[in-house]
Each structure stands twice: as structure tokens, then as C-alpha cells.
Symmetry: C2
DNA sequence: AATTATATTGAGTGCTCACTCAAACAAATG
DNA sequence: CATTTGTTTGAGTGAGCACTCAATATAATT
């Protein structure tokens, strides 16, 4: 069911200011339908009907169908990565060098909260990434390099202090996002709730896996 | 680029016997195009052109567009899971109880080989699973319960012998397929090759993470 | 060679789609 | 109230889509 709370990300980004009531209803309906059947399988007529507005209204505000998708996805990429950096820097300033456990649990808890708050929108984003090469390269190149640099310098410090395994940074990062991603997909696509104890387990597992 | 080797799975399944040369070319073209832009964004005209056949030929053999997708995906579900069972039973008969390391490394190496051999077809399958709810429930319910039962009984044995952590089986299995899946997605969707050393690292990481 | 069976063609069909645009409506401003 | 500015409408349009089918080519059988 379509809900105004699916717009959490837009509120945070103060992106709703230039939208009328009807245009917001279009966004809600589009998020709902895109997340159910995928962008390519959704028609603008269907979205307009569910939103209770005329089809033309979609185009006068968003230009075309792709513009509607972009309006939904843009806040994801413009907020996910900066927020993650912020959370990392926060850990870093508290303790140096950061403990592996603190590093991983902060990262995980932060991202899990974000996930739950933006379920449908993230589902659309992930599905679209899986679906075609163009979208993939387009959005991945916008992944800020500063984000990756901060993460990697953290890992390098921990390696120097013999706190973690001496793998490539890419491998370490992949292991972390694999474990998070597995739970995310289970939650988003197979409706399996994530219990608190499971998050604890995943953190412990990652700490054991990466400790040296 | 479209290649006959993309049909590996079909050869294994002896599924090519009832196909003519032109129909095989249709399959190759469809695998190529579906994996690039997604099923919903591909047109039958486009597939026919790339295969160098008439559009009608697609429909006389496969009935409709969905039938073409089914013909591509069916061998995946009918072979992936049975093969995995076979590999597991193979480990089991060699040693009882199986060592955690043997269990995980057999599982991983087996699945990695399958992955590399069926890259494009798996990409289509995964993307379609991500894209719409219907496909997801349709294919997941065909996941043989015997497969899961065998896996879980293995895990229970290892738990009884205090070889692994005392989590829910679902959690343990999710951790394993998360780590594998992360590498799979990196390989399939972001074209990152998987080095041998990385597989070793992943196996070690899982053993450390799950050992008790 | 004649006949039957199967494979392939490609122009044609109806339908759905994203998108347009002139007109109607509403809100704000002087 | 009059005018401007912005919003919303919905019938209409052309393009592209999956799919049909009668005709033709090819292969198999007798």
C-alpha cells in the first residue's frame, strides 16, 4: 500500500518544497508501483490513476517518465553516501585508532536504520541497478570518491596496527557490504524482518572474520 | 557479444535437442540482449534481427515473449539446486561429521564454477528476481524443499558437535550465501574478476565467522 | 518423384504506451 | 475586480510493441 511515510528520504532532503499536493501524490504512487513491478513494467496511466490525478500532470512536473524515476532515485544517491561518511567520521573522532568492533557496528547500525526508513525507494534503486547496464554505470560513477577514500584510509590504519587481516581494501569492503547486503535483500525482496539479535550476530561474525 | 558458450547450461541439460539452428541463434541473441538491458526493455524485433531470423520464428517455437524467457531460465532452476545437493552429499559421504572448512570450501568452489560457466543466464535470472514480485514468488516456491532439508540437517549435525555457532539455520545460510552472493554480484554486474586468493579469503573468513 | 510434415517468413493487426497541447481552473498580485 | 502566473486536465497522436497467419521454403517419408 502507498504511504506518505515512503517519502521519508524526500523530507530529509527538503526536496518536497517545490511540489504541490497532487505532485506529492504522484511521487507516492510512483514509488509504490515502481517498487512492486519495476520501472519498465509500470505505466504512467496506472500511476496517474492511483494518485487520482490526470496523466498530463506527471509530464508537466517531471518532463518524462525517466524524470519521475530520477526524482525518486536522486535523493538516495545524494544522501546515502554523504550520511555514511558522516557516520564514519563520527566514529573516528571518538577514538583513534577505532576498534574493529566499533567500526563495524556503527557502520551496520547506521545503514540498517536507513534501510528500514527507505524500504521502497531502495528497492527501486537496487532493482534498477540490476536491470540494465546503463543505469548501473550512470549511478556508480556518481559514487563520491571522497567516500571511498575515507573508508580506505580507515582500513589502512587498522591494517598498520595489525587489527585486521591484510587483504586488499576492496576485498574487505566487499565482505562487509556482502553481509549487510544479504540481510538487506532478504528484508527488501523476501520480506524477512531483521531481528536485533541477528544484527549482533552479523557484527560478531564480521569482527571474527576480519580480525587478525 | 553473443556467444554459443552462453548456452553451456542448455547443453548440460540436454535441452537443445529439439531446437533448430535458427532457434538456437534466437536463444543466444535473447540471452545476450536480456542480460544487457533486461527482459522488459528488450523487443522481440531486436532479438530476431540480432539472431538473423524472422520475428515470427520466435513465436512459433516459444509461443510468446515470456515463453522465451522461461526457456532461458528453466534450466537454471532445474539444475542449480539439484547440482548443489549432489555436491553436498558428496562431501557428506566422504567424512562424517564433515569439517566446517570442507563443507564451506566445497560449497563455494562448486558454486563459483557454475557461476563462471553461466554468467549471462544467471544475470538474467537475478535481475528478473529483483524486478518483480510475481517472478520472485513464482521461482522461489519451486526451490526444492529437499535441498533445504539436506542443508539444514548438515548444519544441525555440526551444531550438535559444537563445530559451529548456535544460530538459526536461516542466519547461518544467509551468511554463507551473502558472502558468495557479494562476489557473484561484483563479478556479474560490475565485471570484477574473482581471483583464486579471494575465494580462499572468503572461505577462511566464513570458517572464522561461523566457528565455535 | 510425390506427398506429407515441419520450419520459416514478413507484411499486417490491434493495442498500449509515453507524451502533447489547447483549454479550463486556481492562486497570487496590483 | 482584473491580470498575471502557475497548475491541472483529458482527449488526442504517432510510434512501437507483442503477436497472427497465410504463404513459402525446407526436410523427411513413402
Amino acid at each position: 500500500m502507498a504511504q506518505a511515510s515512503d517519502l521519508k528520504l524526500f523530507q530529509d532532503a527538503q526536496a518536497l518544497e517545490n511540489f504541490t499536493d497532487k505532485q506529492i501524490r504522484i511521487l507516492i504512487a510512483a514509488i509504490d508501483i515502481f517498487s512492486e513491478k519495476g520501472y519498465a513494467n509500470a505505466s504512467t496511466k496506472e500511476i496517474a490513476d492511483q494518485a487520482g490525478v490526470s496523466e498530463g500532470n506527471i509530464f508537466s512536473k517531471f518532463g518524462n517518465k525517466q524524470g519521475l524515476l530520477d526524482a525518486i532515485i536522486e535523493p538516495v544517491v545524494s544522501m546515502v553516501f554523504p550520511q555514511t561518511i558522516a557516520s564514519l567520521l563520527d566514529v573516528e573522532t571518538n577514538r583513534t585508532p577505532v576498534s574493529l568492533h566499533a567500526f563495524i557496528s556503527d557502520f551496520m547500525i547506521n545503514r540498517m536504520r536507513f534501510l528500514v526508513e527507505n524500504k521502497k525507494v531502495l528497492k527501486i534503486f537496487i532493482a534498477e541497478l540490476a536491470y540494465n547496464q546503463e543505469t548501473r554505470t550512470h549511478y556508480m560513477q556518481s559514487l563520491p570518491t571522497s567516500f571511498l577514500k575515507d573508508l580506505k584510509s580507515q582500513l589502512n590504519t587498522m591494517k598498520r596496527n595489525h587489527m585486521i587481516v591484510n587483504w586488499n581494501n576492496d576485498e574487505i569492503m566487499r565482505l562487509i557490504w556482502s553481509v549487510i547486503g544479504g540481510a538487506v535483500i532478504d528484508y527488501l525482496f523476501f520480506d524477512r524482518p531483521i531481528a536485533k539479535i541477528e544484527v549482533t550476530h552479523m557484527i560478531d561474525a564480521l569482527v571474527r572474520a576480519l580480525s587478525r
